[in-house]
Amino acid sequence: MSTYAQQAAENVTLPSSLDEAVAALAAMPSAVPVAGGTDLMAAVNSGLLRPAALVGLGRISEIRGWQYADGAALLGAGLTHARMGRPDFAALIPSLAAAARSAGPPQIRNAGTLGGNIVSAAPTGDALPVLAALEAGVILAGPEGDREIPVSHLLTGMDPLRPGELLAFVRIPLLHAPQTFLKATGRTGPGRAIASVALVVDPARRQVRCAVGAVAPVPLRPLEAEQWVAGLIDWDGDRTLADEACTAFGEYVAAACIPDQPGTELPPAALQLRRTVAALSRRALGRALA
């Protein structure tokens, strides 16, 4: 096999370690790194992308699992959604597991990876609101060494990937905190999200963190609503909320994520989306506190 791999080395490299991958990308900066290929090939098949070269990341075993570091889980970028959906992972980060399970049919979840979800940054990426709510960081491996940035900076393009950089790991703090992920889809099966809500109730920091996905190009954090509802929770007690508070939280979140447009009335579709987001966040909060 290696002979063939070497022979194709011009255009296709299949490195088996992260260093090799970074070196391959540095040697051919126009190459497109591809892990699962579910987003890349969809664009290629529809004629939107012609990769000059490919760096296949599927054989880098070090990024296909996870490890623990300083109270955080260091998830490899090559973790597939199928792997993240399994019960052992769900015990670790339940909301990410729930997001991974709902990400698509088995054919897609077997191929699609966490890193690809972040790097492609599709609005409907299911892992993204979870990562935003968990305030994850991403570790980028590049020719000049590693660096770690918040995932939000990568998603919004504040601090994009530099040439030759690869998303290697995702650092997610391991919280002993209730966390939920809820998603509305257009079909009774795994599908792209119409709206998704990830919510973490973090008693250690006395915070509620919520992120709404798929309604905007990036997952949105309704910070005011989070602070408001965190002020309502009796953190030292049984951490329950009146259901009017949950309802109000849902509406607050929805109004923050789908704002009123001054001067114009929101179209019905936006209102419906707002109701969807409100219902999802109300239920997410209720379940996290239950």
Binding site: P29, D39, S46, A82, P106, I194
Partner: protein
């Protein structure tokens, strides 16, 4: 059936500029209608330093009626809404949004799906884009120079919308003014690039072609808002990743063409994509038909040009096929040297291109020997004999001596190091046999290689977007949609297709059960279903009906209603259970993540 924009195919694809508009066509309900609302205003134009860039600023205070203090004494009930325990299925089916997954969005609302599907690979492409440096502004011209044969027609056609012309600048300005913040200092470098052009082009897809034609550059700003959202929706358009548009730059023409993406005979036609010969004909069908439309013609030229470039590799394949044809018939066809010349086109490959502007529709089945071969090859998808013959032929050609040919520098025909269609040669291990693949474009999917190069037509080409599951195969024991696997990265992996399920010419028990239980009607989805069921039963020997439905959730079938498949799985489980009375508990080492377990699901 994807989120890809199929804008032109919709009756209401005109006049939807500006922000959200009512359902085109005036009906109360349009299943294709999705959201089209500008959320641009919600994000702060300039995130404050130290602030979470994802923050959404809502109203000043909580909604009225909300409790203002912690009131733990108030009783409340847990909202009981989730009794399905189903991590895979949609949490709530919101009926008013039926179209997010399976249906093409309305042209008035391309934004979400567009961003999700088309530009989903954002940062991956970023690396390529950045690596190509600042060549972006010159890209189109660069391409023109590279492909004189094709582009001559385009230039002669007098492209009314040169890629760098005013409208895009107007858009770029709009974009910049709207989203100057997040990009910060990065805004300037990409402005001259073709990135905004693509967006402008996309807007034009949404827009009324006549409007676009008649409007001068200065008249574009009325669509600023829409454009702004479009631009913003793309994750890669956000910030420095704007340059990511570069890889798509060659497709600007295609995007500008209102017929480009939705063209039923074009890229979205699975048949056309499957059939390298047919593509030529279909591409010309597009341009020929559109040529009668006067004003859209120029952009159709671009479209055709994009097609032509797109299929450069397939041209090569065509030529190879032609060679093979000639070889088979005694060498009265074009010679091998022809196909090895990068710039030259075998007449039968070139002829339709030249004919295109005349609006001729060359009959792909009638005019050229490739077409004849296509006609002979394509319908035999299910014919095992033909398939095998085809596979052998290909093998024989590619591999006259085992290893010798493969190890030769077969990449010689690559005209230059930075080819538009970089080729790769590799070997796949399919159903236990080594199958060398030479000079395949590295963007070819595993599905394409299996079907068109290796002659294994069992995996079906349904959507090419991973939605339908008809192309399911196992790669290294994991069920994947082969249309979404770059074949080059599957080199060295163990690929198992539906042809590998049968042993000694007898269909597997799953296949027999599928046939016996009436799961097969038209049969198109059944190879994928068989692969899925095999994959399921490998990891779960006693699946419940819910497990089966979860596993089959990625295999769309429009005929049978899945009942027969469920029956077939039950029958297989019963038969296998009767065979080995070992009664082992269902092992949980599935390659696919397995069905969602409710207890682990929050």
């Amino acid at each position: 059936m994807t989120d890809q924009p199929h804008s032109g195919s919709h009756p209401g694809s005109h006049g939807n500029s500006g922000a959200w508009q009512p359902v085109p066509g005036g009906g109360d309900y349009d299943p294709d209608q999705t959201m089209h609302v500008s959320f641009a205003a919600q994000l702060p134009p300039e995130p404050l330093p130290g602030e979470d860039p994802l923050s959404a600023h809502g109203p000043a205070g909580p909604p009225p009626g909300a409790p203002t203090e912690a009131d733990p004494a108030t009783t409340w009930s847990i909202p009981v809404i989730r009794d399905d325990g189903d991590g895979d299925s949609g949490e709530y089916s919101m009926g008013a949004f039926p179209s997010s997954w399976d249906q093409a969005p309305s042209p008035a609302a391309p934004t979400q799906g567009f961003a999700a599907g088309m530009f989903g690979q954002g940062a991956a492409a970023a690396q390529a884009a950045r690596a190509q440096g600042r060549t972006a502004p010159a890209d189109t011209g660069h391409e023109t120079g590279r492909d004189p044969g094709h582009d001559a027609g385009q230039d002669g056609g007098g492209d009314g919308l040169p890629p760098g012309a005013g409208p895009q600048d107007a858009y770029a300005g709009a974009w910049n003014s709207t989203y100057g913040g997040p990009q910060g200092g990065d805004a300037a470098p990409w402005l001259p690039s073709s990135a905004p052009a693509a967006d402008a082009a996309w807007s034009s897809v949404v827009d009324d072609p006549e409007h676009r034609q008649s409007a001068g550059p200065g008249e574009q700003p009325p669509r600023q808002q829409e454009f702004a959202y479009d631009a913003f929706t793309r994750p890669d358009g956000y910030g420095g990743r704007a340059e990511d548009r570069d890889p798509y730059a060659p497709d600007v023409h295609a995007l500008q063409d209102p017929h480009a993406l939705p063209d039923p005979g074009g890229l979205h036609d699975p048949h056309a994509l499957n059939d390298p010969h047919g593509l030529d004909g279909d591409g010309h069908d597009a341009s020929g038909r559109d040529a009668s439309h006067g004003d859209t013609y120029d952009r159709d030229q671009g479209d055709r040009d994009a097609y032509d470039r797109d299929q450069g590799d397939r041209d090569a394949y065509d030529r190879d096929q032609g060679d093979r044809d000639a070889y088979d018939r005694g060498g009265d066809g074009p010679h091998a040297e022809d196909s090895r010349e990068p710039g030259a086109h075998v007449p039968d490959a070139d002829g339709p291109d030249a004919d295109g502007p005349d609006g001729d529709r060359p009959d792909p089945d009638g005019l050229d020997p490739d077409g004849l071969e296509a006609a002979g090859q394509e319908p035999d998808g299910l014919d095992a004999g033909g398939r095998d013959l085809d596979g052998r032929e290909l093998d024989g050609r590619d591999d006259p001596g085992p290893d010798a040919d493969v190890r030769e520098p077969v990449a010689a025909p690559v005209p230059e190091t930075r080819s538009e269609h970089p080729l790769a040669s590799y070997t796949l291990r399919v159903n236990g046999a080594e199958r060398p693949v030479t000079d395949a474009w590295l963007g070819e999917s595993l599905l394409y290689v299996l079907r068109e190069r290796l002659g294994l037509a069992g995996a079906k080409d349904g959507c090419e977007q991973g939605e339908c599951g008809a192309c399911s195969v196992q790669v290294d024991g994991r069920l994947v949609a082969s249309c979404l696997v770059p074949a080059a990265t599957a080199a060295g992996s163990e690929v198992r297709t539906v042809e590998g399920l049968s042993a000694e010419g007898r269909p597997s028990d799953v296949q027999q059960a599928l046939a016996a239980c009436g799961a097969v009607q038209c049969g198109f989805c059944i190879p994928g279903m068989a692969m899925t069921v095999h994959d399921l039963l490998e990891g779960n020997h006693r699946p419940t009906d819910l497990d089966v439905r979860h596993a089959l959730s990625g295999n769309l079938c429009r005929c049978s209603g899945y009942r027969g498949v469920l029956d077939a799985v039950r029958q297989v489980v019963a038969d296998r259970g009767a065979d080995d009375t070992a009664d082992d508990p269902p092992s949980r080492v599935p390659h696919q993540g397995g069905p969602a377990t409710p207890e682990a699901d929050q």
